[in-house]
């Protein structure tokens, strides 16, 4: 399909006649890594205009949440950013805990930090290796992806699931981690640095990779802030905003780590920020294991936290609580709360209004992808089609989070 467009200027009536062609990128295209459609108006291989269409996997999470008890909303959060679902789970638990005013033991908080940082590494592995694939470097992807598998094995050992984890409980964790979990974690911490180093050697100073990514899809800090960027994409543009430092949650203030920032906000900077964040996450996990406090794995929340199975069979109160929790009949105090965590892609926020019932009155998710993807059509204006693909994968747009 093509159409003619006449370009007018002030002095001359007609200066040129340009013929643009329309190209449908997506909705199901292997290069878009998810279900997004972009109707591109192309001038040869240069993008003149991009019109994104989203909502292909919209599943009405906010509406669903209005009829679900609080504990049953966790599986919904899994399916938003499915590359790092533990962060979504923990963010949701912390929102509910803030609402009911629960105090979580330090030990559970440190365990949460380990889980969240592992999830962040898994998320960044996917994003960065896919940037490599889109520049034509398949090798890095093949090598680094096994480490994501190792992380998923750890998750599997803790909660039984790999991708949509539903990990932990409101108030902490269901049980102490078993020995195998700690063994797997030790092996991961021992071997992953070498794997990440290998990946860095393959790409970071690679001439071909740098030629492709430097100055590809840049965005200035002012524009990024205006478009609501958060997370690695904002930091790549040079703004050192990280929720873990600004509003520490789950004892992040106990750990020492640096926030990597870029300067240009281009694909290379986004890649490098994620690379360095993986190193920082590793160091946070090591600190958490070293400083791990003694104590309980869960808060004293009989209304939300399932009692041990032996007690359920032998004790009347435990049976009542078990029944009430499983049936989702626990009322939550009236309140209105916003809580945000640093997700894989940025500030993941939960705005929850409770009217005192068993389900939220209104729950709104601040999904970082949804908010920053609107800058995409401006970022790709005037660049080549292949660079547009690279820009999209370096922004790490996750369809599940985009469409909620």
């Amino acid at each position: 399909m093509s159409k003619k467009e006449t370009v007018y200027s002030i002095n001359q009536e007609v200066i040129e006649e340009k013929e643009y062609s329309t190209l449908n990128l997506g909705p199901t295209h292997p290069a878009t890594h998810g279900i997004f459609q972009n109707v591109l108006k192309m001038d040869g291989e240069i993008i003149h205009e991009a019109t994104p269409t989203i909502g292909y996997i919209h599943r009405a999470f906010e509406k669903l949440a209005e009829r679900r008890p609080y504990a049953q909303i966790t599986p919904i959060t899994d399916r938003m950013n499915y590359c790092s679902s533990p962060i979504n789970n923990m963010g949701w638990y912390m929102t509910v805990e803030k609402l009911i005013g629960a105090e979580i033991p330090k030990r559970a908080q440190y365990h949460r930090v380990i889980i969240m940082e592992l999830a962040r590494i898994a998320d960044h592995i996917i994003c960065n290796s896919v940037i490599g694939v889109d520049t034509g470097a398949m090798t890095g992807f093949l090598y680094i992806f096994q480490w994501r598998e190792k992380i998923y094995e750890i998750f599997e050992e803790i909660c039984g699931a790999r991708l949509t984890t539903n990990i932990g409980r409101i108030g902490g964790f269901d049980k102490e981690w078993n020995k195998k979990t700690w063994d797997l974690l030790d092996i991961f911490l021992k071997d992953f640095p070498a794997g990440l180093k290998e990946f860095s050697n393959l790409l970071e100073r690679n001439k071909i990779f740098m030629d492709r990514t430097v100055n590809c899809g840049p965005i200035s800090a002012e524009k990024a802030l205006g478009y609501g960027f958060t997370g690695p994409n904002l930091r790549a543009a040079g703004v050192d905003y990280d929720v873990r430092v600004m509003n520490p949650y789950s004892s992040y203030e106990d750990f020492t780590f640096t926030i990597p920032v870029g300067t240009q906000g281009d694909t290379y900077d986004r890649f490098m920020v994620r690379q360095h964040e993986m190193w920082q996450s590793l160091s946070i996990i090591e600190q958490a294991i070293k400083k791990m406090p003694e104590g309980l794995m869960h808060a004293d929340l009989p209304d939300f936290y399932l009692p041990p199975k032996e007690e359920v069979y032998n004790n009347m109160e435990a049976l009542i609580y078990h029944f009430k929790i499983v049936m989702g009949e626990t009322d939550v105090p009236v309140g209105e709360v916003y809580h945000c965590v640093e997700g894989g892609n940025g500030e993941l926020g939960f705005y929850c209004i409770s009217d005192g019932g068993r389900t939220p009155y209104r729950l709104h998710f601040r999904r970082p992808c949804f908010i920053y993807y609107q800058a995409y059509s401006e970022m790709v204006k005037g660049i080549m089609l292949s660079d547009a693909i690279l820009t999209m994968s370096s922004m790490n747009v996750i369809a599940g989070e985009l469409d909620s």
Partner: protein, 164 residues
């Protein structure tokens, strides 16, 4: 001085009749503003040198339980000082119109489209107010409470014991 007091003092001085309530809910100062002055209040908060709420964290719609009013909730953030506030405004459900804030915050573009899509709030002056996540042919605003998630005519799922 607490953030709530700082912002209340500034807002009450500049907009004496437009602020309906100010309260601290958990860790957030929350202000309810009359709908017609919402845009001016946001502009003032963004341009004021001390407050400088330059970042719109999120924007979403709500409906009051009596189903007579709709509301829009804004979360604002000043990153250098780490000030966060929430602003709300409510209006009649039969005349859901409010000025857009896309001129102040470009990021409001899709957030307002989403709010329109789910609650039917018409943002006056929005550059492209179309449905965003739902299909274009949809003729209802699904997040309104008049559209329950499950079919209310069903009797097999009624559970009177728990008063659902």
């Amino acid at each position: 001085m607490e953030l709530l007091e700082i912002v209340s003092a500034k807002l009450n001085e500049r907009f004496p009749d437009e602020i309906e309530s100010a309260a601290l809910l958990y860790d957030y100062p929350v202000f309810t503003v009359k709908k017609d002055s919402m845009h001016d209040v946001l502009k003032f908060l963004k341009e004021d040198e001390e407050l400088n709420f330059h970042f719109l964290t999120t924007l979403c719609g709500v409906q009051t339980p009596d189903e007579k009013q709709l509301g829009v909730v804004y979360h604002l953030h000043n990153m250098p000082k780490n000030y966060r506030i929430r602003l709300k405004t409510f209006f009649d459900i039969n005349k859901p119109e409010i000025p857009t804030v896309t001129d102040l915050y470009p990021t409001a573009n899709w957030m307002e489209r989403e709010t329109y899509d789910f609650f039917g709030v018409r943002f006056k002056g929005h550059p492209n107010l179309k449905r965003i996540l739902n299909v274009d042919e949809m003729d209802i605003f699904p997040m309104r409470k008049e559209y329950p998630l499950e079919d209310q005519a069903r009797t097999d799922k009624k559970d009177d014991m728990f008063g659902r």
